[in-house]
Symmetry: C2
Subunit: 240 residues, 2 copies
DNA sequence: CCAATAGTGTCTGTGAGACATTATGTT
DNA sequence: AACATAATGTCTCACAGACACTATTGG
């Protein structure tokens, strides 16, 4: 029956319902020790002046990933996005957009806290919001953000994705602060160091020292992302 | 700019491209110690007589999950699907369907190896195929199946999903054979038992014994799924 | 000197893998 | 009896958490 309805639809465009497909992107970064998400303020109805995830319609002959990358460049103003981008999942509840049937393919993006101001080629307000101080959100974007946060919290355990939140080269203290911000915990400094360095190919040492901070203290060694795609053993988050 | 294009699209349906949205489902089970996937044989062009994942168009005012459940009932002939269903991810490469733009939301379903013959209300052939002996596949379904297998292999580590492949009540040997089939490995019997029972709420003992098999041997104790949604500690798959 | 941060060494508990042993059924 | 499968006990190694200690900078 699938093949038959496929066949009919091919010759009768009205046989399948018209659906709009959009991509929505949860762009995340660490700012002031907090996990933050980029939101834009809507200028039109519905949800006028509400905040929402950046996104837009998928164009004809455009891949989903390409659409996400295009929106990412437009919204951050960066020609090449300096971070990680991956699909989260799709949301298609029939009434999620009050105007029409819209299926949204949500993406997650992670980037270091660049001084570069975000906000693309349009005048709409855009800024990062800490995840535990979010404003009212348009559509079902609050749920999407919850799913995105959950995905990131899980994924930095077994993948080297936490390094996408820092600029290279980085210190182990910077990497530790990423884990602490995403998980909302404090981690044991010495054990964190031992775990990261004992995980093969997670980070590679750069034979250089970071400039000492204003607070004093011994300068930290610098590292870069290693070739590992999966962490063995994983960086398990504290259970308590 | 997003809000503006949204606004325009609401009043000019031709402003956004017409996209068909389908759900495709990778229904998995364990049969003869092998992980198997349900495929249907296409009766129409394109890919006529090729095998493909069951699926179909999302109807107007139908949720994505509901569409997947509906297709599942139609294809397996079971009014209530006796297993687990979850979204995998979406596939939207522009040329993935030669007829038109189709974005497919892929799902994964897991069920026990029921004697009930699959094959729904239409005459098209439908059967389970072992994952290392798959036929030629239509569209990008080979890639979807790869992603589905990868997801299942990872997910049974930290979730109790492996229990979706067996009927209740089950023995630990049956549960172990699920892990062995999905991972394609053999597991240490005694250690497997200790791990499962030491993971809180993974399984709960049923105070009964399984009927002894034709081969003889001590009858096994029976268990049911426990309330755990996540496994702590996880069932880590062997690294070698 | 002290304060602050980076990095090392060591002990302990838990869990995984390997393997031996006991228990309980069929033939 | 032999055989097959289920379940238990025990040893060892790897790793996580806790904590003490050393190293290197700025005031």
């Amino acid at each position: 029956m699938t093949s038959e309805s496929d066949f009919l639809a091919a010759y009768d465009p009205s046989a399948f319902p018209a659906v709009a497909v959009t991509v929505d992107i949860a762009v995340m970064t660490i700012r002031n020790g907090q996990l933050c998400i980029l939101l834009i303020q809507r200028g039109a109805q519905p949800f006028q002046s509400s905040w929402a995830l950046p996104g837009g319609f998928v164009k004809p002959d455009e891949d989903l990933d390409s659409a996400a990358r295009r929106e990412l460049s437009e919204e951050t103003g960066l020609s090449t996005f300096p971070g990680h981008l991956e699909q989260l999942r799709s949301y298609g509840e029939p009434k999620r957009d009050p105007r029409m049937r819209v299926v949204s393919v949500a993406y997650i993006a992670m980037m270091p806290d660049l001084p570069t101001p975000v906000g693309g080629d349009d005048a709409a307000a855009a800024r990062f919001w800490a995840i535990d101080d979010l404003p009212q959100l348009a559509f079902d974007h609050a749920g999407i953000i919850n799913d995105a946060i959950e995905r990131v919290r899980n994924k930095i355990e077994y993948s080297p994705l936490a390094t996408s939140f820092v600029e290279e080269p980085f210190t182990l203290a910077e990497l530790r602060r990423v884990y602490e911000a995403v998980w909302g915990t404090t981690l044991h400094v010495a054990n964190f160091r031992r775990k990261v360095l004992s995980t093969p190919d997670f980070v590679v040492a750069e034979d250089a020292l970071a400039p000492s901070g204003s607070e004093g203290g011994r300068p930290a060694e610098l590292y870069r992302r290693g070739p590992a795609r999966l962490l063995h053993p994983a960086m398990l988050r504290p259970s308590s």
